[in-house]
């Protein structure tokens, strides 16, 4: 199959058309493809992910950005799209450049997948899913399990009139196992998911022991008791603390929101917001993370940003405009969901760094409360500073011991209160990364990783 770079001459021509009408223009060409498989007791559904490709053109009109996109690499379509942008630019070219520093790097980076998805046959994939299905349904009471395998290859080429040329090919592979427990019309499940940059070697992390454990948990949830409600001590598992870092704090540090006066964190930069044991990081260069990228969609290399350093709020995430406005440098956090989506300041892999507590010590410290496990979602409240996190299951903590099970719980609270109430964060032995999807508001969904260890704090919880 032809590479994206085979069309590079056409891309360059489209960009040069804009150069005559704008002080700065850029282009991002993308092609994506991949594979999917869904396997359960009733159907086997293999299928490719959609093969999509297209180009977005962006130009500065002196005051704001103008964009147009097309799902084609054909010269006539690209010329017509450039013309659509030109049509919306002022007749007289503004000499004013867009705010911030333009990337000028020229590099090519490709994920080194040890077992590229393209080398895995449909038979190989079905055999893998069948094996996991067999493990899950070997647990008494589990009659069905939904197995999903997914991989994507996302190829992006960024060009700009400032001379940048950044090419990257990202391969992501993941899978989930959802054993279904059913009794008298009541449906319960627990789940496990893996996803990283790389090929099918990523799925070696799904082992028989882990599948059996999640299947047993699904079955046990049929006996779950009514969830408690109210403000209490909460111990988050690594999947939940990672989502906590992402939703509660990460979105509030996206600097475009600070420029809009739409972040509760804006007046707090430089202040101590949490205990010494709390360090929060966003890292687009994390090895093999689900949200890892080589370059962002303004051509800047991805990097590690420490947002909270031992309790002190020290840095936010930038695109070129916000970096200029705040006297900082762009940090590789400008991302488009795809060539149809606009660029925003976005997270990559967001995590709670390990500290030095042990899980046993945190349980003992908690005494009474709930342990939240298997996080399913969260949503931000960038200005209000509230947060919502949901988990698939929870356990009661009584006298420092794990006891009863609860199903489907939610957590709510003021982020600053929850940060101040943090009593401890466990060590590197508990650290885990999870694959996830992140929206800016309610759209522009893209891959983002979250990570963390166990974290002990206080919040409001209830059934959800």
């Amino acid at each position: 199959m032809a590479l994206l770079t085979d069309h590079e001459d056409h891309f360059e021509k489209a960009l040069r058309r804009l150069e005559a009408f704008s002080s700065f223009a850029e282009l991002m060409a993308e092609r994506s493809s991949g594979g999917r498989l869904r396997f359960d007791s009733s159907a086997v559904s293999p299928g490719p992910a959609p093969r999509l490709g297209g180009v977005v053109l962006r130009a500065w009109d002196g005051q704001r950005w103008v964009e147009a996109a097309v799902a084609s690499f054909e010269p006539t379509a690209l010329a017509a799209t450039a013309q659509q942008v030109i049509h919306r630019l002022p007749a007289r070219t503004s000499a004013t450049p867009p705010p911030g520093e333009a990337a000028t790097g020229r590099a090519e980076r490709v994920v080194d997948a040890k077992r590229p998805p393209s080398s895995e046959t449909v038979e190989d994939r079905i055999a893998l899913a069948k094996e996991w299905f067999g493990w899950a349904t070997s647990v008494p009471g589990i009659h069905n399990a939904i197995i999903s395998l997914f991989d994507t290859e996302d190829e992006r080429l960024y060009l700009s009139t400032a001379g940048a040329r950044q090419y990257q090919r990202l391969v992501r592979t993941g899978a989930s196992v959802v054993p279904i427990a059913l009794e008298n019309g009541r449906v319960e499940y627990d789940y496990m998911a893996e996803g990283r940059l790389g090929g099918y070697e990523v799925l070696d992390r799904i082992t028989e022991d882990r599948v059996l454990e999640v299947a047993r948990e699904s079955q046990e949830l049929l006996k779950a008791e009514a969830a408690p409600t109210g403000s209490m001590t909460v111990l988050m598992d690594p999947s939940t603390s990672g989502t906590f870092a992402h939703e509660s704090f990460g979105h509030g540090t996206e600097a475009d929101q600070l420029l809009r006066d739409r972040s509760y964190l804006k007046p707090l930069l430089g202040q101590v917001l949490g205990p010494e044991c709390l360090t929060l990081v966003d890292d687009g260069s994390w090895p093999d993370g689900w949200g890892t990228i080589f370059f962002d969609d303004e051509g800047h290399p991805a990097q590690r940003t420490v947002m909270v350093d031992h309790g002190r709020f020290v840095e936010v995430l930038h695109d070129r405009e916000s970096a200029a406005a705040m006297g900082r440098t762009a940090r590789g956090n400008t991302r488009r969901a795809d060539f149809m989506g606009r660029p925003f300041v976005r997270m990559t892999n967001t995590m709670v760094e390990p500290s030095d507590w042990t899980f046993a010590e945190l349980l003992e410290e908690a005494k009474e409360g709930v342990l939240l496990q298997s996080c399913t979602s969260g949503i931000e409240d960038p200005l209000g500073g509230q947060m919502q996190i949901k988990v698939k299951k929870a356990r009661s903590i009584e006298n420092g011991q794990i006891t009863k099970r609860y199903s489907s719980m939610g957590l709510s609270g003021r982020v600053l209160d929850v940060l101040r109430a943090i009593k401890g964060v466990s060590g590197p032995e508990d650290f885990a990364m999870s694959p996830g999807s992140c929206g800016k508001g309610h759209s522009d969904i893209l891959p983002a990783g979250t990570g963390g260890t166990y974290l002990l704090t206080e919040a409001v919880v209830g059934p959800a």
Binding site: G230, M232, Q257, R262, S408, G441, G462
Partner: protein, 471 residues
């Protein structure tokens, strides 16, 4: 409404006809998207046209008493691109398995219902002008409001031309406008100490009506101000009124799966006649709603569909089937094939193989009267204005989220605002399990359309609320 558009599926079908073994089906789509992004009280970015044209090819292949379903979607419209798509779809069909010996795709003989409004003509004919005019009208509503200002937003209009063609000779086309609207209003200033409050509106709808902007902005500004003085709700079971815009985030996702042939295959669908709600719950699948997200004279396979009860007085009437899942139970399609994908707010349908689901839902109004009369009748409880995100779980039937803003109902009137805490539970559960649908005690008489749901406000008693003090 169908225009003489690019007719994507018909063009692809012309290449396939006579060369590809039946049955097959092509769903084509040409999308043009136009966007205006707002930051504060200014237009931050103009985007468009953002053009996407593509198609999904589905093949049905018989194999040993089952069907192998092959599906492949792409934006590659060249003849070699089509050949590659066929090759990939055939390869996947050879490994796929679906538990039906055969399935009939719809033919052009099947009559469809009359014209259903799916296109906002003004938006269709002058997309940029209409969006810009709307944005300016919206922003002008804040003149003179002082400390209540717009903070962030986007208005995205997608104009889609869908076409379906299959080996049965069916050729259908549908034009549709979809508007994704996101807008946040911030209240600040005033006496020292009170933090700013933000009310965040998110909608997906079939048109961009300009009537009533002023009263809507008034409402949003009141919510933003209310958030600043909101207290925490008390914990425990309470009477809660759910308005239609909150129900719209919960019902379609859960009912659309749990009452479908896909759930029945997995033994997750209650039997027809099963009681899953109170007598106040009668809900229709309704593709006839003007500008509903799922409206149209036919479904995403081209089968005709019509308004049909799915729950009557709390009992399951029948399921939702597309051609494939109907065939698995020797039933005809009910016209409920949907290509709306999870998380595809960007309105791309061709990338998804059809699955059974709801078109739109209509909840039959009751005798509870206006919202004010429902509040008066409740006496003491909570009016739930907005959840963070309800995160409906189609498998377990659970939903719930943080209260972003609500009101205490005291002595039959709206009282102080509340914020924080969790409202949630099961939308519907197994026999005897408490659930929202089983706990509906009253339904209002004034339905409103929100996205793919038309419903009145409903009273749920009891509903679990997690707030300030534990239980």
């Amino acid at each position: 409404m169908t225009s003489a558009g690019p007719q994507t599926a018909f063009r692809v079908a012309d290449v396939l006809r006579g060369r590809l073994e039946a049955p097959w089906e092509v769903y084509g789509e040409h999308l043009r998207r136009f966007e205006i992004h707002l930051s504060g009280d200014r237009i931050e970015m103009i985007r468009g046209p953002l053009e996407m044209e593509g198609y999904g090819l589905r093949l049905l292949r018989r194999k040993e008493g089952t069907l192998g379903i092959g599906f492949s979607a792409t934006s590659e419209l060249s003849t070699p691109g089509i050949a590659r798509t066929v090759e990939v779809a055939e390869a996947t069909a050879s490994h796929a398995r679906f538990p039906a010996p055969k399935a009939e795709l719809p033919s052009s003989d099947a009559a469809t219902t009359g014209d259903i409004e799916t296109v906002d003509a003004r938006l269709w004919n002058e997309p940029f002008e209409t969006l810009e005019s709307y944005a300016h009208q919206l922003l002008s509503q804040f003149d003179g409001r002082g400390t209540v200002v717009p903070s962030f937003g986007s208005i995205k209009a997608t104009l889609s031309q869908s076409t379906i063609s299959n080996s049965q000779g069916l050729e259908r086309g549908l034009d549709r406008t979809t508007v994704e609207f996101e807008f946040a209003v911030k209240a600040s200033g005033g006496p020292e100490g009170a933090p700013p409050g933000e009310y965040w509106v998110v909608r997906r709808q079939g048109s961009l009506p300009t009537d009533g902007i002023a009263s809507e902005v008034d409402h949003w500004c009141r919510q933003a101000e209310a958030i600043r003085r909101a207290g925490t709700p008390a914990s425990g079971p309470q009477k809660v009124i759910f308005p239609p815009h909150v129900l719209a985030d919960v019902l379609p996702a859960i009912l659309g799966f749990r009452l479908s042939g896909a759930a029945r295959l997995r033994k997750l669908m209650p039997e027809p006649g099963a009681e899953i709600g109170s007598e106040k719950v009668t809900i229709w699948d309704d593709p006839t709603l003007p500008f509903g997200i799922g409206s149209g004279a036919f479904d995403d396979e081209g089968s005709p569909h019509s308004r049909r009860a799915i729950l009557e007085r709390g009992r399951v009437v029948s399921g939702l089937y597309d051609a494939l899942h109907g065939a698995a139970f020797d039933l005809p399609s009910t016209g409920n094939a949907s290509r709306e994908g999870t998380f595809t707010s960007e309105s791309i349908r061709f990338a998804h193989s059809p699955q059974p689901g709801t078109s739109n839902l209509s909840w039959e109004p009751g005798d509870g009267g206006t919202d004010e009369e429902l509040i008066e009748a409740v006496g003491e409880g909570i009016w739930l204005e907005q959840l963070g995100y309800a995160f409906p779980d189609a498998f377990s039937g659970a939903f719930g989220g943080e209260i972003r803003v609500g009101y205490r109902i005291e002595h039959g009137k709206l009282g102080e605002p509340i914020r924080g805490g969790i409202i949630g539970g099961l939308l519907f559960g197994g026999p005897g399990e408490p659930s929202l649908l089983r706990s509906v005690t009253s339904t209002g008489s004034r339905p409103r359309t929100e996205g793919s749901l038309r419903a009145p406000s409903v009273v749920v008693d009891p509903m679990a609320v997690a707030g300030g003090t534990g239980t």
